[in-house]
Structures are given as structure tokens and as C-alpha cells.
């Protein structure tokens, strides 16, 4: 006699330990297999885009910090690039180098968090997560040294950065880079032979490159499928044209490939920072207030600038009507767009893989809901 089974609908979230914030999924199971997934979000909506319409261009920097709160420097950078494009500001070279260093450090921190939480979702009970967070802490200490804050940096300003890095920052940065490399080595040592991690992550949630491109997905998720698409290389912004780095690609497009690409990118970021340290030149970190006044009034028009964020293409679209605040700001939030394929990734998979796949997307609910 065949056993009659019936799918069960379970509500996961918004208060769930592994949803990386306040995210809700209505999941239909047949036994352990996932039949249907409905992502529901918006629990962290703060109306950042609307708030930006009544703030000056400098004040909006503080809003961008709070969108993707594990990579605020990258948000700052994307926004500032859009403002510079809109107002036609020529940034000062030292400021650009400094913000490149800061944003690459932030990328490492973000990838460390992503890797740590992926392993946490695998059920490693916090140990590798804490090793990753321990290293991120060193990066945050460096941020505190240059800009006085650890998470919500607000370090960048139109035309450069807020303040030059202090003397003690440079030796600390050198030490920090060595530490980062050794921590990544340690994480890889932990993972390189770990059959449990392999069997859990390899071959799960495979997505085809065509689907990824059609869904407009960017970042490590796309590169894990073998598509060579990195804005730092395809459309270099800031001084990335003067930097040589390897684009790390993986072709498997599964959870393991996504993790692998992130870890390798963190290694490449260390190399990029070392090149930035070599090439940085003395000078002012931001244009004088005569060139870039505190209260910017960009000419009427619009501008879109995008960077390669830690989670994908992070773009800011600004429309100016000539006033002191933008007429409209729109954010191309990579987390939100990467989330769109969640259903394709999960259906047909196992319940045990649900949160691993979810973690491998590397979402930040602050960015999804804005």
C-alpha cells in the first residue's frame, strides 16, 4: 500500500535564527523536500530613498551607511561616485586611493561575514563564524582609526574622503593585511578537506549562467557560474584601471562555488590594497570648499554610477532638479536582485539545504528592504 503524503506549509521567519535579519519564507514541504517557497520581505523598510529626497547631498552619505550595514564603505563609494558624476566633481587623487583602500577592506570584511555565516548555517555552531568575525574586528579597528566609526562609517565625501589617514594607520594596515591572509588560510584549512562541507555544499542549488544573466544577477553569484563579469574590470571606476588583479571564477555555480569565489576574492582584495599602498600619492584628500562647496547644488539632470559591491553591482541613480537635495534617488540593491532567484534555487532541494542556500546568496536585509 502506498503511503499517502500531504505537503505541509511552514512559516519560517521573520524571527528565525538563520534568516540573516528579518526575512520571512512561506515554505511548502513534502517530507524533507521543498515543494514551494514564497519569500516575503519588507520588515526592515525604512524608506531610505524617500528620506534622501529631503536631505542635502552630504547628509545622504549617512543614509547609505545604513543600507547594507556590513559593507557601508562600498555603499558610500557607490553613492559618492553618483554624486560626482551628477555634479561633475573632479576628485582629488589621494582621496580616491584612500577610498579604494577603505572599500576593499570593507569587501574583505563583507566576504568574511558571508563565509562565516554560511558555515554557521551549515551547523558548525559558531566556531568558524567567530574566526571570521575575529578578523573582521581587526578591519573594523582600522576603520575606527581612519574615520572614528566601525560600522556606520560616513567616511566618504563628494570629491574624496573626510580626513587623511593618521600616521599610525599605515603600519597597522600592513599588519592587518598579513593577519587577513593568515585568517583566510586558516578558514581554508578548516574547509579544504572537510567532507561534510563538501557533501553539503557541492552540487546543491545549481543555477545556469543563462538564468543568472537573465535575472540580472551580479557579483560572486554570477562569477561562481563562470561568467567573467566584474565591474572593476569591465567598467573601471576610481583608479581600478591602474590596478591589476585576477578575477576568480568558478564554473560549478553551486553553494560551494559561491563560497570559493568569495574567499578567493578576499585574497585578491588584499593584493589590490597592497597595490594601492604602493601607488598612493601625497596631496589633499578632498577638493577645497571653493571647488566643492559644502552645500552642493548639482545642475539639473540625472546620473547613474555603479560599483562592484561585495554582493554584486551596487548602483545609485540620482536625479537633480538643481536644488540642494536630489529630486529622486534610486538604489540598485544587489541583495534584492540576488534574492529573486531564491525560489529557483530552493525548489526540489532539501530542508536542510534551505538556509545554506539562503546563506550562500549573501543577503543583507538592510539592503533588500532599504
Amino acid at each position: 500500500m502506498a503511503i499517502k503524503t500531504q505537503p505541509v506549509t511552514v512559516n519560517l521567519g521573520p524571527q528565525h535564527p538563520s534568516t540573516h535579519g528579518v526575512f520571512r519564507m512561506r515554505v511548502m514541504f513534502d517530507g524533507e523536500e521543498i515543494v514551494d517557497v514564497e519569500p516575503i520581505f519588507g520588515y526592515l523598510h525604512r524608506g531610505s530613498e524617500k528620506l534622501a529626497e529631503e536631505r542635502t547631498y552630504t547628509q545622504i552619505v549617512t543614509l547609505t551607511d545604513r543600507m547594507d550595514y556590513v559593507s557601508s564603505m562600498l555603499n558610500n563609494q557607490a553613492y559618492i561616485l553618483a554624486v560626482e558624476k551628477l555634479a561633475g566633481i573632479e576628485p582629488s587623487p589621494r582621496g580616491v586611493w584612500l577610498r579604494m583602500i577603505a572599500s576593499e577592506l570593507q569587501r574583505i570584511a563583507s566576504h568574511l561575514v558571508a563565509t562565516g555565516f554560511l558555515l554557521q548555517d551549515l551547523g558548525a555552531l559558531g566556531t568558524p563564524l567567530i574566526y571570521a568575525m575575529r578578523e573582521r574586528e581587526n578591519i573594523l579597528d582600522l576603520f575606527e582609526m581612519i574615520c572614528g566609526a566601525r560600522i556606520t562609517n560616513s567616511y566618504l565625501r563628494p570629491g574624496g574622503v573626510f580626513m587623511d589617514a593618521p600616521e599610525e594607520f599605515w603600519p597597522a594596515l600592513e599588519r592587518g593585511l598579513d593577519d587577513i591572509v593568515s585568517t583566510i588560510d586558516e578558514l581554508e584549512e578548516y574547509l579544504s578537506g572537510n567532507e561534510i562541507v563538501f557533501s553539503r555544499t557541492k552540487g546543491t542549488a545549481v543555477l545556469s549562467p543563462e538564468l543568472l544573466i537573465n535575472a540580472s544577477i551580479t557579483g560572486p553569484m554570477l562569477r561562481a557560474s563562470g561568467v567573467d563579469w566584474d565591474l572593476r574590470h569591465r567598467a573601471p571606476y576610481d583608479y581600478y584601471g591602474r590596478i591589476t588583479f585576477e578575477r576568480k571564477l568558478h564554473t560549478a555555480s553551486d553553494n560551494y562555488a559561491r563560497y570559493w569565489v568569495r574567499v578567493q576574492e578576499a585574497r585578491e582584495s588584499v593584493k589590490i590594497i597592497r597595490q594601492c599602498i604602493e601607488q598612493i600619492e601625497p596631496g589633499p584628500v578632498r577638493p577645497s570648499f571653493d571647488d566643492v562647496p559644502r552645500l552642493l547644488r548639482p545642475p539639473a539632470g540625472d546620473a547613474y554610477a555603479a560599483i562592484e559591491g561585495s554582493k554584486g553591482e551596487l548602483g545609485f541613480y540620482l536625479v537633480s532638479d538643481g536644488g540642494i537635495s536630489p529630486y529622486r534617488m534610486h538604489v540598485r540593491a544587489s541583495s534584492l536582485i540576488n534574492l529573486t532567484l531564491l525560489r529557483d534555487m530552493l525548489i526540489g532541494g532539501q530542508f536542510g539545504d534551505l538556509f545554506v542556500t539562503f546563506g550562500s546568496v549573501d543577503l543583507n536585509m538592510g539592503e533588500v528592504d532599504r
Partner: protein, 221 residues
């Protein structure tokens, strides 16, 4: 496949098991006998003989030593530092604040023989409860009157107590952070050890001598 590769993971965790902890204990740290003796400024044997009670406590793991958290001098803390003598009540900070939490009320004030006409600052309130410590007000201040503070312990039980008034700012210990104040970094001012007493020391220029002031304000008129 299953088995041999896991060994590396065990080695990594065991290495970390043998390493000292990286976390900091706050606000005080539990110390053993050696740490307690060091804190008292003597060697462990002396400590055992002179303070048997304290050393027993230390051996039992109950002795604590206060801990100062390592911070950068640029740390944007929430104990704002404000020099009323430097303030011209221009309200730049209030205008620059993204959240509009600084309230300034000024009235035309006295006419000083030395410094000329000035505004009198009646109200200067910062609503710390809504502040996000972006530091834009400090960036806006043209006369270096307002600074971020280095301290961060400002939790209160009542929301209203989070509003810092002018008087409170005036009486507070002045430990300004060097965030957007390069002069402090040039003078190697350490906010965790020193305080600023004279408001002239907080400016970005050298304090003019009395003669120069007299020349400028009295002789030239």
C-alpha cells in the same frame, strides 16, 4: 571520502583552543594572583604576605581589574565636547545635522570691549537619543566649538535625560575626539589621558598673544 579530510578541521580548532582569547572583558577583567599583584604594584609573593585576603580572592578567581577599552583618538563617541566661549551661535551645526536634533536659540548679546559684538547662546540642546554620531555637525562648525567626544557610556533610564543641555556640556569633562580636528593629532593630544581646560587650546590656530589682541581690537579702532 568521509573521515580523513576532517582531521584538518580538528587541528585548526585545537590550535585555537590553545590560543589565548581575543575578546576583551568589560568593564572589568577577572585576574589571577599574578594579575592582581601587578595591579597592586608588587610581586606575587609580597602580595601573598601583605594582603592574604585579596590574594585568596584572586586565587579563587574573584579579583577584578578595571579595563579601559582600546580606542582610536578619532572615535566618534557620544559625550559631545562643547566650548561655549568659542561658539558664535551661527547654528551651522543645527543646519547640517541630518536629523535636526540640535536646538539652538540665540539672542543678541553683550558688546565686549575686547571681542566686539556677540550673540548670546540661550539654548543649546543635543538630543542624543536620536543622534547617529555621523559627525557632520562637527564638520560644519567653523570655529571648532563643537567636538565629538571620546567617551561612550551614556545609557540612561529615562529618554528625556538623553537630551544634553548647554549647562551639562559646559560642566562636562572636555575630552574631544580628534575626528575632523587635525590640530589635536598634530599636538598629539590623547583624549583618554588628558583633558582640555582652556578653550583656546581647542582651536585650529595658535592662541594670539594679549598684545596682538590689544593691537587688533583696541589700537586699530
Amino acid at each position: 571520502m568521509i573521515g580523513l579530510g576532517l582531521r584538518r578541521g580538528f587541528v585548526v580548532t585545537f590550535k585555537n583552543f590553545l590560543r589565548p582569547a581575543v575578546t576583551e572583558q568589560y568593564p572589568d577583567r577577572h585576574v589571577g594572583l599574578v594579575g592582581a599583584a601587578k595591579e597592586a604594584g608588587m610581586n606575587p609573593f609580597q602580595f601573598l604576605v601583605k594582603k592574604p585576603g585579596d590574594s585568596l580572592k584572586a586565587i579563587a578567581g574573584l579579583a577584578t581589574v578595571p579595563v579601559a577599552v582600546e580606542q582610536s583618538p578619532r572615535f566618534r563617541g557620544n559625550e559631545f565636547t562643547f566650548f561655549e566661549d568659542r561658539c558664535t551661535a551661527c547654528a551651522s551645526c543645527a543646519k547640517y545635522c541630518p536629523l535636526g536634533i540640535i536646538e539652538i536659540v540665540s539672542v543678541p548679546g553683550k558688546i565686549d570691549a575686547q571681542e566686539g559684538e556677540s550673540y548670546k547662546l540661550e539654548v543649546f540642546d543635543i538630543d542624543i537619543g536620536r543622534c547617529m554620531f555621523c559627525g557632520l555637525c562637527v564638520e560644519a562648525c567653523p570655529y571648532d566649538a563643537l567636538h565629538m567626544g571620546s567617551q561612550f557610556e551614556r545609557s540612561k533610564y529615562v529618554r528625556d535625560e538623553l537630551i544634553i543641555t548647554k549647562e551639562e556640556l559646559f560642566d562636562a569633562e572636555k575630552r574631544p575626539s580628534s575626528w575632523y580636528r587635525p590640530q589635536f593629532e598634530e599636538n598629539t593630544f590623547d583624549p583618554f589621558k588628558e583633558t582640555i581646560v582652556d578653550h583656546h587650546d581647542a582651536g585650529r590656530h595658535e592662541r594670539p598673544s594679549d598684545e596682538d589682541l590689544k593691537k587688533k581690537w583696541v589700537d586699530e579702532r
